[in-house]
Point group: C2
Chain length 147, copies 2
DNA sequence: ATAGTCAGTCCATAAGTTAAACCCACTTAA
DNA sequence: TTAAGTGGGTTTAACTTATGGACTGACTAT
């Protein structure tokens, strides 16, 4: 099976992963959320090869997740910024980080955390249901078809 | 840079992705959440090659995300079940699906959704802050070091 | 006996990733 | 005005991973 076949899958997770599911894309986006904007920044941070970085950035721009903003002419150079679609991935990043923090072994003291500006606390994110406002537990969800 | 270098990164997202960040692992886990338990099931569903499926399952078992439970002897065959650590990925899956559903184009009618059993509604998940209970928006979080 | 199930393994090819070198259009320091 | 630096882009060859197909093994059902 070709990976791009998942683009048109009925499952939104498969569709998301058809865009995000390779080795580097989510790492690049993580850097975006931490404020990295330029080719060189990603390269230095990730140690990714330039060829692949070029591909991935082009792909993300193409998918509408990042937008390019020129910050100089002659030659034109771009900042890579998160679009609305890209910023919408913040929730995924937060939960991924929460899982990494609680489920993967490591030295918790040195870890990067997030702070919730509106209440001032270090953020412990959880997933809630928009209909009832309660925390969503794995045992309480069932897959279904949209009505 | 070698990918495994991220295992010990200070960033929990990088650590999570060092385990989950390849082409197939998250797709396999998605299937787990949809109830797939056996080698053949993953294979049929994903069209993944057996060699890679073998590797990925072994890796997930090794990482403590899946556990093997024998369902027959002679020869021994295993179900692959989500451990507590695996089930904790539910939040990531839900937010990934929500992003795929709202941000990636497709035919919404045919899409797989989740239903929240406790309130009966089709689930629209969002991320909330454990400290204040409010929805967490991208603009309200800042990266920091753990205190 | 014969075919089917449910993997696990091996292999040659195909695809993806990498580092290194080189190019380009400038800008800044000497 | 020459030299070095910046912020990339391109090419190439080596290396690593993934793939599909065939083969094996230990059973089970017909």
């Amino acid at each position: 099976m070709r990976w791009s076949d998942f683009e048109s899958a009925d499952c939104p997770i498969a569709r998301a992963l058809s865009i995000l599911g390779d080795r580097w894309t989510l790492m690049i986006l993580r850097d975006c959320f931490f404020g990295v904007q330029r080719f060189d920044g990603f390269q230095a941070n990730l140690g990714i090869s330039r060829t692949i970085l070029r591909d991935r950035l082009a792909h993300l721009v193409n998918a509408g997740i990042l937008v390019q903003r020129p910050y100089q002419d002659r030659p034109v150079r771009y900042d890579y910024l998160l679009s609305a679609k890209g910023k919408a991935l913040n929730s995924v990043m937060l939960m991924l980080g929460e899982w990494g923090r609680t489920a993967v072994d490591g030295q918790p003291e040195t870890q990067v955390r997030h702070r919730h500006q509106t209440c001032g606390h270090v953020l412990t994110p959880y997933v809630a249901c928009a209909a009832c406002g309660e925390e969503v537990l794995a045992k309480d969800v069932r897959a279904t078809r949209a009505a």
